[in-house]
């Protein structure tokens, strides 16, 4: 007896899988293997010396802290945006919805230059601020927050849409206060998506170069981001050292995303009592 394969919506499973694998190999794995090829020319001792250089260490601190602050900001602000876009009807809603993707569409260098101009001491926004934003640590946060906010909005939005108004109404009729309803009914539902979105935003911020470089000021030990340290090594034609620092950023991002995915899988298992989501 030949077992009949279950009917699929999309025909040609083997073909589409083949194309997918080819695509992944060409676009993702091939450049990555180039990175590892460069790494292979280094000994562990050399690798260690490069990634623990004091200036690089300072850049990790600047990058990670800025990315954390930017992501925390986006977690709150992104959730708010998603909430407004899902729960309310108002004129210009479609426009606002479309605007949310602007940071993805705009070349990051353009974003960086624009933000630097706006927040400079003589800029449209900067002149009203009593403190320095452009060419300081705060500027890096602004640039990172700008480029990564869609990650939070776009991951939370669909989850919120699946959560009808009736849910919070039901909670209220059962005697929950607004804060209690949000904390115990709505928040647990959107929390995994919010965390995923924030995680994506954080990972993106770690690697952001174009937008940050124009606003950071790039002072050694103070406002140098890790991506700049990579570019600096490239300028010295030191591909291996550039790859070493890049690998660190890559592994950090991958580890973070993996952790979020694992946590999410556990969450869904708990939620649905089954293996998959």
């Amino acid at each position: 007896m030949i077992a009949r394969a279950p009917k699929r919506v999309l025909p040609g499973f083997t073909l589409s899988l083949g194309i997918t694998l080819l695509y992944v190999s060409l676009i993702l794995l091939l450049p990555l293997s180039g990175l590892f090829g460069q790494l292979a020319t280094l000994s562990w001792a050399q690798y260690w010396t490069i990634i623990t250089d004091s200036r690089n260490l300072a850049s990790y601190q600047v990058t990670v802290l800025s990315a954390l602050v930017a992501s925390a900001f986006n977690m709150v602000f992104g959730l708010l945006c998603a909430w407004v876009l899902v729960r309310y009807e108002f004129p210009g809603k479609r426009l606002l919805d479309a605007l949310m993707d602007l940071p993805f569409a705009l070349p990051t260098a353009v974003a960086g230059i624009t933000l630097a101009t706006l927040y400079a001491g003589n800029g449209a926004i900067g002149q009203f601020l009593g403190f320095q934003v452009s060419y300081s640590w705060l500027g890096i946060v602004v640039a990172m927050a700008f480029t990564s906010v869609p990650f939070v909005v776009r991951t939370v939005q669909p989850v919120l849409e699946e959560l009808p108004n009736e849910v919070d109404e039901a909670a209220m009729t059962l005697g929950a206060g607004t804060l209690y309803a949000f904390r115990r009914v709505i928040f647990p539902h959107i929390w995994p998506a919010l965390l995923t979105g924030t995680g994506l935003a954080f990972a993106r911020s770690l690697g952001e170069y174009g937008a940050v470089i124009f606003i950071a000021g790039n002072m050694p030990y103070q406002t140098e981001i890790t991506a700049l340290m990579i570019v600096t090594r490239l300028e010295e034609y030191d591909y291996a050292a550039a790859a070493a620092i890049a690998s660190l950023v890559l592994f950090t991002s991958l580890a973070l995303l993996l952790a979020i995915n694992l946590w999410q899988a556990r969450f869904f298992r708990r939620l649905h009592g089954s293996t998959g989501a």
Partner: protein, 344 residues
Amino acid sequence: MNILSKLSTLRLGAGLLGAATLGLSLTAPLSASAAERTLMNASYDVSRELFTALNPPFIEQWREAHGEEVEIQQSHAGSSTQARSIIEGLRADVVTFNQTTDIDVLANAGLVAEDWQSRLADNSSPFYSTMAFLVRKGNPKGIEDWQDLAEDGVRVVFPNPKTSGNARYTYLAAWAAAARENGGDEVQTEAYMRKLLANVAVFDTGGRGATTSFVERGIGDVLISFESEVQSISREYGDDSYEVVVPPVDLLAEFPVAWVDDSVRRNQTEDLARAYLEYLYSPAAQRIIAEHNYRVRDPEVAREFSDRFPETELLDVNQEFGDWDTITRTHFASGAKLDQLLRR
């Protein structure tokens, strides 16, 4: 609606990939024409205007002499970035750089002949420049010389010597001037350099970025860049905003050119490439170059434009510091002098 979150994951993939492949470079804009051959000139970042002015007369000249239509493509980026692109496969026929080291890199990779510097006149550098200061109108901080840059309260703007050839010249010129001032006392020179570097307000990655910070954002008291760049800004904004100061002791910055032997062989453009670079030495081209505020080799043209270029003692970088390999090793490599001076 779950498609959206899938999309985000995809985008993240793209983002990571972007991080992994930083250093991709740009190529020249496309243009359609009936040209029989094209010549690609890979040049440094701020030479757009110069070569846009230089190319049409050459095309004209070539048409008259050979009856052939040629097209010249321009590609602009930092010259180290350009050198890297060529090593990675950009088939530029000629390079017109602002750093000798970047052509040496091509020579080491076997793409340009080892003796490239002796193939054309004047070290293969048809024009040159030096470092100059752009100060705000009236020169409120009284900046006349390299020593003045290290004074307390002076905010200096120049790009990062790690990422910009322009800034490497600034660093070396300041070093050479200080060494001359104190009779070659290394301890004093390093103390001076430390103060100068501590006065830097912003480290942009390239020359144009530094110009923007100084001019558009109003940061700093003095911008240090190539005289050509500084003169152009001063001319563009009129004399009532800025003043140009050329210090009494300065460094001669060569702008080397070469044809890329490997590319011209594949593209069969050697005659064209060679003629193009030789054309840069012709009086007509030298005049255009001088108009763009570069100092030129042709004595006749140099005299014509002498009022634009203040007299200054121009030191030879190789006489002061040795060959570029040595300079890179002692000053700019990882952990070398510059890194030590910046260390907290």
